[in-house]
Symmetry: D2
Subunit: 304 residues, 4 copies
């Protein structure tokens, strides 16, 4: 099967919790509505940003059910299926199919780590089977999984083994391989770019679709980069990309993913804290972050 | 609380599956009975060897229930609680307490990885709380978790934060740190040695208890090493340790953990295959392994 | 001191040997003349491509002397000064000054590796002193040095310590940091981009100058990328960059740096073999490489 | 050729500098005399402790000449030949032969790093040739070289290629491989143990000879460990090893190799500072180290 390529922005969503830390899916509709209005093309749920590794199977099933009603031709809901357990991935693939969302994604298992592409493929096949005709993306994020296999070899091996293989969510620094994957076998696979701070570099190297956490609250900024890029106005595109770099660099000093969730909250969508081991921001730190972002002009840059 | 130190061998058990790959706890009693007869002092369940990362929460709960009846003063059942999810670890700690097994263990979370000891401690505290007065071991295995924090700093920080912290299952190569942990604060913490192939090196550096997968089928060999060591007969101890090295080196060429499970099967305890991504041995490979082990004298060395 | 930014291409030269493996500087003038004609703006000698780590001090001194006559306002000769030995770097910095070449560069020492920026700065200061008013670049290549310190912190710390610090030759994948270094302190430092295969990504993220080994023989291709980029014709720029990616991917399968030297030879500049441990191509492999490159259209792409 | 195995302690010497940082070989005889009196069996010069990577070729030649007069049947002088440059290693091998010292050693080149054993062997062959019938040791220290190839495969491949290959200086944590190398091909190769703080673990796993930096000043302590081990008095051996661990742990907090050189100075042999990037101790820090060592009973433990 050849699936259409995703073009534009997919938000890698944060998982919403209430004040006690329990999953609270009631927060989802408001944000999804906003994302659609802004021109975001879908959501990637229960991924890295969505704390996949900290969620119970039952919580992931609830997330799928909560996002499914928003899935349609113009808005793709993709769920990341586990982690390290093939069994869990299979159960979640079935849930994705039953709930009727757009697609699925799987990382390399990161405890017992496959040391060859064929070992990875054998792990993926039963999961892809369980997904039926839903597209399956491989989510390549060696920084976290510590599995850094050749993605070209993966595409080569899945071709005859996994008919519903759709492509790669590519969160790795090898832009040469990224470009080559985009062109593999006449360009039959989708390769989604996974670095918001390097969105423009990705575009220059051939990206058309991108998945990232800052698209939850800063999509307008990235859509302006895309527009400038398409016009060939690279100076403007770079100036805008530098705004992205500046706020991402800033919030990294506040603690990475948890600070992203804090920004979402500052934008009016309070999805709660991150679960440990990620350290969440104290109220004081959150206010300091707000002031620093204001000084940077962040809130006006994102059209807030 | 100061818990007694575990002395002798703890078998890190394999998880039993039937031919379809489903958990089959009916296989457990026969092996446990044998281990007790051989002088093994307990089992470490749902750990690395037990495929923690490939098991569902519900399967781990079944394992706890299946092993609990064998727990008594002379045979300690310890369960590894997750993985990457603090929620899952808390639920399993409660199960361990309710079922009345001896103790619990936790690895560093290995997707979002703590970058400081204090971050790790904050992750551990609610899990330890859930375990009540059951001892909690930290399972240090940086080769797989990619979290390599100072264990001395950990002992220092848990002292006032985690009253039921019992010690460390130490599966790392830093024998200097291992020895220092054993002596920390007058020796109040247990530090279990995690390398079967270096059992003698561990003894020389102060180990008294050890956890390992080959104690499932080769305990008699290691008990003879221990006996020689205690007598100061280091030449004999080394000769015996070399037998351990030789069979472990051999089966490593057949694929590591899966080959260990194949040996268990060759010894009469068929616990099924490993789950992917681990690659299990084909029947032909298993027979080749048997012949190679026979040529090595393995089965007589382990008193089989 | 604020030095001018280098704009355009700097060729990271290969070191010329005769058939016996001895340094043969007589091969240099012909290539340099060609590079100048093509519009290349300078050479980076005795760097990674130039086998710094395999050269004797005396050989590096000969290289400086051999390239010095070609140094002028339109063609910058920059030499990499060692390696791991501060003493050697100091001696070479003096030679660079005496011979009157443009500038110098230093990597992080890669046996005893600095673990902090301040440790690195203390290592650099006496070398920079010895270079007098010649500019000193830090050559950041963590893939080989295994030293991955913050380049922003380095710029911050050298500001008051090293007046002749000119900037960074940036051969690392962190395009966000690359861009931030370009903008550091109002843009006072030069940051040269070190990945030929990602030349376009570098441009998109702000690069104006680049250092690379394929500029020795394929400069015309990259100058066309630069031209397309400046016009905002990103589709053409990407098509051309893909030609770069394709031949670099191809020759990587023939063995990396040694294959690059083989291509140089195929273009008429026979600089001999690489020294071990790098494995050079056999004559047969070299002819196979030629055929593969011809099939790719490489020689016409580079205007040969 | 099969060379005799080295038994006992080899001191990995520090390189002596005067106050200006220049090599000062006049300091060597006094220390060597003392080492011989204490029962040390030789020296390993210009190695890691001897700052190989920071020395000029000419300085290494001077070191060989300075140590050569002390080489005899009871005291082996071994020199480490480079680093990353095969040419330099060849020149130094010739110097070693001409000066008549006992043997030579080579690390894996650590800038261009060999990715296979055969690549490493091709690099070694011309160096071994230049050493004539002097024994050549491979110095395995992956922590610093980042080359972690199979030492068993190396022994297998050198057997027919390098007649003067003597064995391995093994500074790696894999005690299983260490033991297997000792037994390779009937035990024809020498394998020297490279961790002072784990001297006893090495003995337990088969070591007979050891190379280390603390044998420069603390040989008597290690000889007592050896004596206890030989008697089978493992409790005493461990108590003594713990003294080694305690002072090594202590001085590590003062900065590793430079602190070792400071201890040598406190023992009456002032060999000067380390060269950058290694950070040397200030006079104040050195006095603090002295006091801490006194509190530990260090100076009496080493029979000072």
């Amino acid at each position: 099967m050849v699936y259409p390529r995703i073009s534009g922005l997919i938000a890698a969503t944060f998982t919403p919790y209430d004040a006690s830390g329990a999953l609270d899916v009631s927060l989802i509709p408001k944000l999804v509505t906003r994302l659609r209005e802004q021109g975001v093309k879908g959501v990637f749920i229960a991924g890295t940003t969505g704390e996949s590794a900290s969620l119970l199977l039952s919580e992931k099933q609830q997330l799928i059910a909560a996002y499914a009603p928003f899935n349609d031709e113009e808005f793709n809901v993709i769920v990341m299926l586990s982690g390290t357990s093939q069994q869990e991935a299979i159960l979640l693939a079935k849930a994705a199919r039953e709930q009727g969302i757009y697609g699925t994604a799987v990382t390399a298992p990161y405890y017992f780590r496959p040391s060859s592409v064929s070992q990875l493929v054998e792990y993926l096949v039963p999961i892809a089977d369980a997904a039926g005709d839903l597209p399956l993306y491989f989510y390549h994020i060696p920084l976290l999984t510590r599995v850094d296999l050749s993605m070209l070899d993966l595409l080569d091996q899945v071709r005859d083994r996994i008919p519903n293989f759709a492509g790669i969510k590519y969160t790795h620094h090898d832009l040469m391989e990224f470009n080559r994957c985009l062109r593999f076998d006449g360009g039959r696979y989708d390769v989604l770019w996974g670095w918001d701070e390097l969105f423009l570099a990705g575009l220059a190297m051939g990206a058309r679709g991108a998945v990232g956490s800052t698209y939850n609250f800063a999509a307008p900024l990235y859509l302006r980069i895309l527009e400038a890029y398409r016009k060939g106005d690279m100076d403007t595109a770079l100036l805008l990309q530098q705004k992205s770099i500046d706020f991402i660099s800033l919030y990294a000093t506040y603690g990475g993913p948890a600070a992203g969730k804090a920004i979402l909250s500052l934008c009016g969508y309070d999805f709660g804290q991150f679960r440990p081991p990620v350290v969440s921001l104290s109220p004081e730190r959150k206010q300091a972050l707000r002031r620093d972002l204001e000084n940077l002009g962040f809130f006006s840059d994102i059209g807030y």
